[in-house]
C-alpha cells in the first residue's frame, strides 16, 4: 500500500472550508470599550480607517497589522480588529480566508515564500522549495511554503524571506540561506533584489 497523504479533513483533496463549530453562537460585533487591544495596534488601525470613505476598506491592512502583532490571525487577533473596526469577526474571517498572506492557522510567524511558478520552476524553484523545507523542518515558528509568481522572475529561483526578496539562489547557497533564516539574520545580503541594477543596458546611460 502506498502511503497516501491526506489533508486534516481526512480527504486526499483540500476542502473548501474549515469546519464550523455548530455548538457556538455566532459572534457579534465586539464591544469597543471592553475589548482589550494593544494601544499601538489600535492607533495603527484608527490611522488606516480615516484614509477611506468606508471604514471596511481598512480591513485588509488592519488584519495585516494585527498579524504582525500576533504572528497569525488568531481568534484574538480577529476579535481585536473587529472591535476597532466595529464589524463582526465573521466578516473578517471571510475576508482573511481569501488572501494567501493572512494565515488563519499558526503556520509560523516568520514567512518564507518560495516561488514555484513557471519562470522559477524552469530554473529549479521546486527543488529549492524542497531543500529549504527540509533544512528548516525543525525551525521553530518558521513557515516555508510554495507561492505563486512573486513578481521577481528575473532573479529565479527566488524566495521572499519576511518580505525580503533574494535570488537567484544557487544550490551552494541554500545551506547558508537556511542558517540565516534560522538565526533571523539578513538573508543573502549580496543577492537581495533591491540591490540589483536594471537589466536594460540603455538604462544605465546618463544623458
Amino acid at each position: 500500500m502506498t502511503d497516501v497523504k491526506r489533508f486534516s479533513n481526512g480527504s486526499r483533496v483540500p476542502g473548501w472550508d474549515e469546519a464550523v463549530d455548530l455548538e457556538k453562537d455566532p459572534a457579534t460585533v465586539p464591544d469597543a470599550a471592553t475589548t482589550e487591544v494593544p494601544a499601538q495596534l489600535r492607533a495603527h488601525i484608527e490611522e488606516l480607517v480615516v484614509r477611506y470613505p468606508d471604514k471596511r476598506s481598512a480591513s485588509i491592512p488592519a488584519m495585516a497589522a494585527a498579524q504582525e502583532v500576533h504572528g497569525w490571525m488568531s481568534p484574538t487577533a480577529f476579535e481585536q480588529v473587529a472591535a476597532v473596526l466595529q464589524v463582526t469577526p465573521a466578516f473578517l474571517v471571510s475576508v482573511a480566508s481569501f488572501y494567501d498572506m493572512l494565515d488563519t492557522q499558526p503556520y509560523g510567524s516568520r514567512r518564507v515564500y518560495v516561488c514555484t511558478n513557471i519562470s522559477c520552476s524552469l530554473r529549479g524553484g521546486r527543488e529549492l522549495l524542497g531543500r529549504l523545507q527540509e533544512s528548516l523542518a525543525d525551525a521553530e515558528d518558521v513557515q516555508v511554503r510554495p507561492f505563486e509568481c512573486l513578481g521577481a522572475c528575473d532573479i529565479a529561483p527566488m524566495a521572499s524571506v519576511d518580505g525580503v526578496y533574494v535570488g537567484p539562489i544557487e544550490d551552494a547557497e541554500v545551506g547558508t540561506l537556511a542558517e540565516q533564516i534560522r538565526a533571523g539574520a539578513d538573508p543573502l545580503p549580496d543577492k537581495q533584489l533591491v540591490k540589483r541594477a536594471c537589466a536594460d543596458p540603455n538604462a544605465a546611460s546618463t544623458s
Binding site: S57, F98, M101, N117, C149, G151, S205
Partner: protein
C-alpha cells in the same frame, strides 16, 4: 531600436526621492502646464498619443478616461500595482526606483478626470516597494505637489485575481476579491459606486513622458496602433533575464536573443509566452513576429502585460502546462463554475497524464474543457488558463501523446491505483 524613456537613468542613486526627481525636471513645468489645461483638452492629448493600457487588455487610455461622466460627484482614480501575472515584474522597477514618475502621472490623470481621491493598490508581497512608494507619497504630500488630491497606498494580501479591475475594487472596499458583473463598468460605477478610472502603473507613469514630448511626438514612436515604448519583462530560459524598454514593433527575436541573450548555448526556444502566462503560447517559428499589440493578436496570442516567458527544448511541455494549470486552479476565485471546476479538472487530467493513468481520449476531453471555459466566465481568469492550455495541447499534441504513452508504460500498475493529488504543493496538507 531601443529607446529609453521610462528607464532613463532609472538606477540613478536617490531617484526615488523628491529632490533628485525634481532636479531632473520632475514636478516642473509639465505638471504646472497640465494643471492649467482644460480637462477635455488633456484627455484629448492622451487619446492622440495612442497610449494603450499596459496592464493586459491594451485599451486606449485616453478613451477610457473619456468614459467618465462629467460633473461634480466623487470620482476616483485607482492605480493597479497588483502585478501578479506570472512572468511580469516591470511595474516593480518603476515602483521601487522612480515612484515619483507614477505619482506625477496620477496627479495629472486625476486632474484630467476630475477625481479628488486616488489609491495605489499594490500587491502585499511587494513590501519593500510599498515602503519606498509610501515614503514618496508622503514626500509629495508634504511638498504640496499633490494639491487637493488625496492619495493613498493600499496594500493587498496575496491574490492574483485582485489584479482584475473589478475584483481589485472589491478588495479595496475591504471584501473578498471576487470580480463583479460588467456592465456597469468602473467608469460609471466603480469604487464605492462612484465613477472610477483604473490604470496600470506603467500606463500612468507614461503620462508625464507623453506631456513632456508632446502627444504627437510620442505617437511617432513605435508603430501604428501600438505607439510608444513598452517595458518588457523577459524570464525563464534566457541568459539575461530582466526588464527591458523597447520601442513597440521591434522583432521578438531581437528582444529574446538580442537583449535577453536567448537560451543557454546549445539550447533553443521551444515555446514562449509573449504576454504573461495568460497568453496563448507561440513557438520558435514565431520569433520574427513584430512585438506589438496588433501583430501578436493576429498571430493568435496577445501582448498582455508585456511579459515574455521563454521555455527551451530541455523542458517538457506537459510540465509547463501543469505548472500553469496549478496556478490558475489556486487563483480561481470560485465565483463561477466553468472556471472553478475547469481549472481543477484540467490539473487533475494533467496529473493523470504525468502518472501514466491517462488515455489519449483524455487529451480530447481536456481540450473540450478549455473550450467550455472560454467565454463562459464572469472575468477572463478562466480564459487565461484555457487559452494557453488549449494552445499547448494543439501545438504540441504529439508530445502530449508521447509523454502519456511513456508514462503509462513506465507505470504498468498505475491502472489499479487512484491518482493521487500531490499535497506538498497545497497549503494545509499533513504528511
Amino acid at each position: 531600436m531601443s529607446r529609453t524613456l521610462i528607464f532613463k537613468d532609472i538606477d540613478e542613486p536617490g531617484l526615488a526621492t523628491i529632490d533628485v526627481y525634481r532636479r531632473r525636471g520632475g514636478y516642473g513645468d509639465v505638471l504646472r502646464k497640465a494643471l492649467q489645461t482644460p480637462h477635455e483638452a488633456l484627455v484629448n492629448d492622451l487619446k492622440a498619443s495612442g497610449l494603450r493600457g499596459r496592464g493586459g487588455a491594451g485599451f486606449s487610455m485616453g478613451t477610457k478616461a473619456s468614459f467618465l461622466p462629467q460633473g461634480k460627484m466623487d470620482k476616483f482614480l485607482v492605480c493597479n500595482a497588483d502585478e501578479s501575472e506570472p512572468g511580469t515584474f516591470k511595474d516593480r522597477e518603476i515602483l521601487q526606483k522612480n515612484p515619483h514618475l507614477l505619482i506625477e502621472g496620477m496627479i495629472i490623470a486625476a486632474y484630467a478626470i476630475g477625481a479628488n481621491k486616488a489609491f495605489i493598490y499594490i500587491r502585499g508581497e511587494y513590501t519593500q516597494q510599498a515602503d519606498v512608494l509610501e515614503a514618496a507619497v508622503a514626500e509629495a504630500r508634504s511638498a504640496g505637489v499633490l494639491g487637493s488630491l488625496d492619495l493613498w497606498v493600499h496594500r493587498g494580501a496575496g491574490a492574483y485575481i485582485c489584479g482584475e479591475e473589478t475584483a481589485l475594487l472589491d478588495s479595496l472596499e475591504g471584501k473578498r476579491g471576487n470580480p463583479r458583473l460588467k456592465p456597469p463598468f468602473p467608469a460609471n460605477q466603480g469604487l464605492y459606486q462612484g465613477p472610477t478610472l483604473i490604470n496600470n502603473v506603467e500606463t500612468l507613469a507614461t503620462i508625464p513622458i507623453i506631456l513632456t514630448l508632446g502627444a504627437e511626438e510620442y505617437a511617432k514612436i513605435g508603430v501604428q496602433g501600438s505607439t510608444g515604448t513598452k517595458l518588457v519583462s523577459v524570464s525563464g530560459n534566457v541568459q539575461r533575464p530582466g526588464n527591458y524598454e523597447i520601442e513597440l514593433g521591434v522583432s521578438s527575436r531581437e528582444i529574446i536573443y538580442g537583449l535577453a541573450g536567448g537560451p543557454a548555448d546549445g539550447r533553443e526556444v521551444k515555446l514562449w509566452f509573449p504576454g504573461g502566462s495568460s497568453s496563448p503560447v507561440l513557438t520558435k517559428d514565431d520569433l520574427d513576429l513584430a512585438y506589438d499589440f496588433d501583430t501578436l493578436a493576429k498571430a493568435g496570442s496577445m501582448l498582455g502585460s508585456g511579459a515574455i516567458i521563454v521555455v527551451d527544448d530541455s523542458n517538457s511541455v506537459v510540465d509547463v502546462c501543469l505548472w500553469l494549470a496549478e496556478f490558475y486552479r489556486h487563483e480561481s476565485c470560485g465565483k463561477c463554475t466553468p472556471c472553478r471546476e475547469g481549472t481543477n479538472w484540467t490539473v487533475k487530467m494533467l496529473e493523470r497524464i504525468q502518472q501514466g493513468v491517462a488515455t489519449p481520449m483524455d487529451l480530447d476531453i481536456m481540450a473540450s474543457v478549455q473550450e467550455q471555459i472560454i467565454g463562459n466566465c464572469l472575468c477572463v481568469l478562466g480564459d487565461a488558463m484555457a487559452m494557453p492550455v488549449g494552445s499547448m495541447v494543439k501545438k504540441f499534441r504529439e508530445e502530449f501523446e508521447d509523454h502519456l504513452e511513456r508514462a503509462r508504460l513506465a507505470n504498468p500498475l498505475a491502472g489499479d491505483q487512484p491518482p493521487v493529488v500531490d499535497p506538498v504543493l497545497i497549503q494545509g496538507a499533513v504528511a
